[in-house]
């Protein structure tokens, strides 16, 4: 059962465009993580957000955790072909919980 819904499921954009990916849930999470996964590889952690309303920036990527800690967004500015991949959000229901609940994923393709 997927507790986290991501939208859009697929996104194809031109190089240089901006985009936002959403991750929504009815559950409250103590922390939320964003991963990027490339074909044939495991997910790689991009960022962890912990505090409601928190905003973190990683170069052209901006991550935000909702005030109620139920949702998050990932905004990419001036997308590049190297940003292509599967973006996954994952929530931890309580601090120190043993497992992550992953979202359904957003497959991003950036066309040169």
């Amino acid at each position: 059962t997927q507790l986290l819904e991501q939208s859009p499921q697929f996104l194809s954009i031109q190089e240089g465009e901006n985009l936002t990916v959403y991750c929504n849930s009815s559950s409250v999470f103590s922390s939320l993580q964003w991963y990027r996964q490339e074909p044939g590889e495991g997910p790689v952690l991009l960022v962890t957000v912990v505090t409601g309303g928190e905003v973190k920036k990683l170069k052209r990527l901006t991550f935000q955790f909702g005030d109620a800690r139920k949702d998050s967004s990932l905004h990419i500015t001036a997308a590049q072909p190297g940003d292509t991949g599967l973006y996954l959000c994952a929530g931890e229901e309580q601090t120190g919980a043993n497992n992550l609940f992953f979202g359904t994923g957003t497959r991003l393709t950036v066309i040169p």
Binding site: S31, E41, L45, T104, G105
Partner: protein, 115 residues
Amino acid sequence: GAGVSQSPRYKVAKRGQDVALRCDPISGHVSLFWYQQALGQGPEFLTYFQNEAQLDKSGLPSDRFFAERPEGSVSTLKIQRTQQEDSAVYLCASSLRQGETDTQYFGPGTRLTVL
């Protein structure tokens, strides 16, 4: 340093066969996780070890799935009498410690195809 490794990378099994998937975590990592990722989906939690102790196996889909980590390092996920619905990528992840938000490092996965 070496990351998490998994073997084999690809496995094809006939329905009804038993399979064993291996995970070598990062040296010194206390926690080890197994996830199942169906095609086009996000990973789903299967089981969790802290050292050699299996503390959570709530995600194992049936009693055909069994995992062990006898010496607190290498782990094996075994699937008995494989079914077509077991076809997926099986991901292993390890983290340094337990009890707080900690980074999980994922292996490349084993792609299992059951014919």
